[in-house]
Chain length 158, copies 2
Amino acid sequence: MLKGSSLYKEVALLKNYLTKNRLKLTQQRETILEAFLRVDHITAEELYREISKKKRQRMGLATIYRTLNLLCEIGIGQQRHFDENRTIFDNVLHKKHHDHLICNKCDKIIEFESPAIERLQEEMAARHGFTLNNHRLELYGHCLDWKKCRDWQKSADR
Amino acid sequence: MLKGSSLYKEVALLKNYLTKNRLKLTQQRETILEAFLRVDHITAEELYREISKKKRQRMGLATIYRTLNLLCEIGIGQQRHFDENRTIFDNVLHKKHHDHLICNKCDKIIEFESPAIERLQEEMAARHGFTLNNHRLELYGHCLDWKKCRDWQKSADR
DNA sequence: CTGTATTTTGAGAATCAGAATCAATATCAA
DNA sequence: TTGATATTGATTCTGATTCTCAAAATACAG
Ligand SMILES: [Mn+2]
Ligand SMILES: [Mn+2]
Ligand SMILES: [Zn+2]
Ligand SMILES: [Zn+2]
């Protein structure tokens, strides 16, 4: 385990899952976990470039995909499909269920939850004789404030 | 234009759009339109097999894709992505905006609309300083009634 | 109706994200 | 430390959709 990391608990969570399943804690898995937990939403490709830039070690794109999927199994990540033909991985470590509001102009992603909407969804399902397993609610639009929209666009930490 | 078709109006709609854009009304476009208007939701591949079965004429898969996209431009169809890696085309000719309830067991698709939910969505967007362009709401679950679930599964006309 | 310019078609190649292969390498428990 | 086992990364493969382009169909002026 890396010294000086502020992610002892998170790495422990990963290690625990791995051990329980006779899997191994590798350097790349740890590196990927750390980089992933630093962001909110990211694609495999972006994470790959992010890690490669700091080229602390060789890292194959396939490993990024494999590990990201592993994190989803553990429950640390979740796949999102805001636009078809690319998967965005959502870091949900300290988050509960939420839906998304997405700006088509600056790609800002806002997370929200609406108990009222969730209730109406259940009601609608029941009305049609359905038991709900999950749902997907995505709202697309644009920021009213162009300045904010641009500022977000320019900021690197997304 | 085919004789005996009950789709004069719809074919006219297509022809009108085509003429307006210096495009041509071909046999395959008419065949695809007719087959498409016969269903609610269908993939390009399914429509391809459907038409090939009745092999009234040779028809390339690329033509199906091209024409389905054309119908979407006209507003007769709309792409859906209930599961990533395959596009379902929704025949929306006589439908207004609606969302979907999908059975994970039998693939039944129920269309619904909820003004109450739509209102709450707008409210949520406004709260975050957003103007809404569109949204995606999909509810996944399963039919309570297994019998109905199976019956649906067996019925051909989907 | 006919000739001609223009669009469309179908077969197959190209694309692209993501998964599968597999020999070489790393991990871990005894 | 050793050896069984899992993992890695380079590469190939996959599958849905789009692209290419020569041959065929269509529209429309005459
Ligand atoms: Mn999120
Ligand atoms: Mn529909
Ligand atoms: Zn914005
Ligand atoms: Zn069902």
